[in-house]
């Protein structure tokens, strides 16, 4: 599993919180700028993860109750 994916939901939650905080208008200018910067960064990294094109297709194999992954080759569509 690629490194950033497990944190996707956390990042998204954090982003939602930042949007909420910033929209409340209760932060100082300095804090707002910091949150804004962090929020934009989070939004960009989340979008990047979603637009990632490095997908893997594998077969789950089991031998002696141990799992392993094999590359899946579509015989009708080997690409």
């Amino acid at each position: 599993m690629s490194k950033e994916k497990p944190s996707f939901e956390e990042d998204l939650k954090r982003l939602q919180k930042i949007v909420e905080e910033l929209s409340s208008g209760k932060l100082s200018l300095g804090d707002s700028l910091k949150k804004y910067e962090e929020g934009i960064k989070l939004a960009q990294s989340c979008s990047q993860v979603l637009n990632d094109s490095q997908r893997k297709v594998e077969l789950l194999m089991k031998k002696d109750s141990k799992f392993s992954l094999e590359k899946f080759v579509d015989e009708e569509n080997p690409s």
Binding site: Y36, V57, E75
Partner: protein, 408 residues
Amino acid sequence: MPDKNQRIFTVSEITQDIKIILENTFSTLWVEGEISNFRAATSGHFYFTLKDKDAVLGSAMFSRANREIKFKIEDGLKVICFGKIDVYPPRGQYQLIVEKIEPKGIGAQQLAFEQLKNKLAKEGLFDPGHKKTLPLMPFRAGIVTSSAGAAVRDILQILQKGATCVDVVIRSVRVQGEGAAKEIASAVEDFNRFGEVDAIIICRGGGSVEDLWSFNEEVVARAIYNSAIPTISAVGHQINTTLSDLVADVFVETPSAAAKIIVDKKHALLSDLDGYKYELVAALSALISDLKNTLVALKHMLKSPLDRLLEKQQHLDELSVALNNHMRHCLSIVKERAFSLIKRLDALSPLAVLSRGYSLSMLAGEGTVIKDASGLKAGDAVKTILDKGAFISTVQEVLKDEQRKTIV
């Protein structure tokens, strides 16, 4: 008393005769009736009564025969039974020995399905409360299907087009025929043990009811129910709902639709993210423009000493310009007045009279102009000033009474 010619049977003899007659006459037959008093003995044999409006028929189905039954026999069920009549001498009873049993009006398989469905429903396997929500974005999807089937290709194709961020792990199983259900169930369990997927898609392409039957089996339903990982059931068909559909957390009609759920999630998230970015920008701009307004207001309220000094300086400059202008104006007025005074003075100067032919006389050696002749005596030297030049003369005679004549 019986006739002498009449035969007297023993109970055993008559029972034996009845047994022979009945069993020969009814060695194979179909009987239709409703099940009541059903009892499954520990031996595995079934005992029940078939009844209709007016009669009852004791029935037994031995374990060797009932093993093959797909549906569950229960009281109230209307059935058609195939078998033979058997007489049981120790009790003097006859009964139907059932070899085959079919539900009436509905296929055995369908009935089995309905019965299993009811049973699982009672156990709560379809409870909406038990259903898990899919992750916000399943980045790694497990697929339980045949790796050679159309279903897996459909899913891969749609994900390739719409959500290349999703990794796919396939656990290949047989999706129809004997043993398929067990493989499907194990695959779901395997994914749970393996753990590294966010969602499991249990699927196969379309087919006949029989082809899809594995997805109606209890092992599959239970494996899906017990999955800790959210499940999507996508058994390709449109008319019938399989048990796997009912148990799964999400169910769609085709494998493609399952993949589309994931693609849709991705698009929804991307548009959410755009929304968040917009909100961030909007919130910050609002804050900045608020601050700007406050700053302007404060500036108005709070003037710096320098500003005040500058203001005073400016005022001073203005005043000094005004003063200069005023002075210049005053001077020019004074100048003008001086000019006119000089003009008037010129007109009044005695010297001016001289130019018109008058002259001034004074005693020579004195500066006093002579206005009265009585102050003179003959012999006085008199200096007379003309317009141009002067002369000195001697008085010959004083004429005191000479009146001034009008001078023209």
